[in-house]
Subunit: 350 residues, 2 copies
DNA sequence: CTGAAAGCGCTTACAG
DNA sequence: CTGAAAGCGCTTACAG
């Protein structure tokens, strides 16, 4: 079943069939009606290989998702697809492994689909620096800032990670916690070079909040790097509890890791928040189903999705590149305990 | 950058380059080395549109996943991909919306990629009955039985859903529970016609376990249909608790719904398992991180993935179609309370 | 072992 | 408004 069958059956040439299929204007109503009827009758679907191969420019977008199991991204993708559909456009989504190179994948997708534009959900700074220069279509990086990257065709929509982490840390410090264990994502260290990966930014936020309140903070001691998974969070929390028995709270750089930490704390015979307070990051749906409900920094999934799509559309219409910051929301939850009185008492008697 | 560039730079014809790229045997070592060097040097990647368009038969498999957010399937896909790679094959994965037609998607994927075989993760019986006949390549349906479908090119690897649910229900009944609320998936009702969707099979299992133990069971009253999501499970549990205040336990047909129910029970001022016992189904990773750890029927993800792939490979080598049942494991967890004594006492004083 | 050529199923100038 | 034809980047008989 090819376009030829439709042509033969409708009595028109393949070129005319193609024009109808692609909604081109210069086709008589008669031809359009006849051809659409045949398409319907035969259940014809164009072969996208042939279409992509020939087409100089596709009509859809491409969404590249870093991590098929990232629940935050899953939420955002879903909303993006709705928005794209509402805007009368289409999109294909490509999942890339967390450890793979999303920019290489984008380059390949660009060659093969020639999308109008590309949305990246998550991105590794090094990959962008290395290869993004070869990507020439409008792109938007979502959840990660791209302003310091300086590419003329790359916008970004993200949350202020430094401030988000600072507020999460502030929530704990202001509740009287003085020793907070940090579970960070990959490459989460305060390095002397340009700090721009998400985990690094968040760690800086933690540090700022501590400095601002005059609370000592030693990343080397108090923080630990973990894989982005429940299991990773579990293991990390166990190590942290063993290494720093004096911590009264844990801040995980993602909810998924926090959920792992929650279980680790329980398995260590401690309760949340009575013995250990816990804060996550991202605000995925699941935190609201935890017992206790997790305190977290909720990224505005709806806004991230909508603005990501809108900015990409504007950019494809010739608009400027922008770097937008979407407000987050600090969710108090039920997993943080105020221990100020307790600490005061300790100090009085200590 | 096309195969022509590689041909020009290496001094060979495009046909020879193509043969090297596809590992054909009749190429001199000299040509192979030279061409591979150029491919490396230029970073050439073949355009898969052109390849798919031309190729009579592709070399990879295709995995069709029903529900991008289904955590059980996410686990299985990951393991399948590892197995496929270990077997020296490749696979593309296509996600289809829970409400979309996976068989139509497969037909499209078949036309465009001509895979050696297709793995379905999840499937709707009606869709298979309607359209699977048009799909002629070897296929395996994973997690859902396909023996009663009677297609000559469709194997299946699944868990015994009736028995799994019967044991889950048995766990509750044997702990003394007499009124159990059921949260089922779509189209979960004991209908007079052929019952074959997963939820229906599981409901039958519940019924069997009840009959076997002489416990009255009224699906109309005790069971409720929910979307496959935490939110769905939450709402369903709320309704169930309101409608049947005498239930002492809830059985959810998926862990995701059980996690929602867990929160709903807590929000109703009740505890798990002290006031209400809870059992899920599937055995996704997350149940082990719940507080309390969820009791569930754990499907053997590793086996489902491995056997699915192995059977498909055998089938592509001319092997027969098979319908394999993979053993499940009843996980006791911490969410079921034994209330026999309590009930005995009630009865004595009641 | 290698090259030249046909063709996969479309789209798109180019005529008319 | 429509048709005939070129061509997208590959693969694969077919010769040699």
């Amino acid at each position: 079943m090819t376009i030829k069958d439709v042509a033969r059956r409708s009595g028109y040439a393949v070129g005319t069939v193609s024009r109808v299929l692609n909604g081109h204007p210069d086709v008589s109503e008669e031809a359009r009606a006849r051809i659409l009827a045949v398409v319907e009758e035969l259940g014809f679907k164009p072969n996208s290989n042939a279409r992509n191969l020939k087409q100089r420019e596709g009509s859809g977008f491409c969404i590249i998702v870093k991590g098929a199991r990232n629940l935050l991204f899953a939420d955002i993708v879903e909303k993006m697809q709705n928005h794209i559909k509402d805007a009368g456009r289409s999109a294909t989504v490509v999942y890339v492994d967390e450890d793979d190179d999303e920019v290489e994948t984008a380059l390949q997708a660009y060659r093969e689909q020639k999308p109008l534009g590309i949305l990246f959900l998550g991105g590794n700074r090094d990959n962008f620096l290395r290869s993004f220069g070869r990507l020439t279509c409008p792109c938007v990086l979502v959840t990660t800032r791209a302003d310091t990257l300086g590419f003329a065709n790359l916008s970004s929509v993200s949350t202020d990670d430094v401030e988000g982490a600072a507020q999460a840390m502030g929530l704990l410090l202001d509740a009287g916690h003085r020793r907070v264990g940090i579970i960070g994502g990959d490459s989460c260290k305060v390095s002397p070079v340009l700090n721009c990966n998400t985990s690094q930014l968040r760690l800086i936020g933690c540090q700022q909040a501590s400095i601002q309140r005059g609370v000592p903070f030693d990343p080397e001691q108090q923080s630990i790097i973990s894989r982005y998974s429940m299991e990773g969070g579990y293991e990390a929390a166990k190590i942290l509890l063993g290494r720093c028995p004096d911590i009264t709270a844990i801040l995980a750089m993602s909810d998924v890791m926090a959920i792992g930490a929650l279980r680790a704390i329980r398995d260590s015979g401690l309760r949340v928040p009575e013995d250990i307070s816990l804060v996550g990051y991202d605000g995925i749906e699941q935190v609201d189903y935890c017992v206790p409900r997790l305190s977290t920094v909720r990224q505005n999934v709806e806004q991230l999705a909508r603005r990501g799509v809108d900015i990409l559309i504007q950019q494809t219409d010739g608009g400027q590149t922008v770097h937008e910051i979407i407000p987050f929301q600090l969710i108090k939850g039920e997993s943080v305990r105020d221990i100020r009185e307790l600490e005061d008492r300790k100090r009085a008697y200590g």
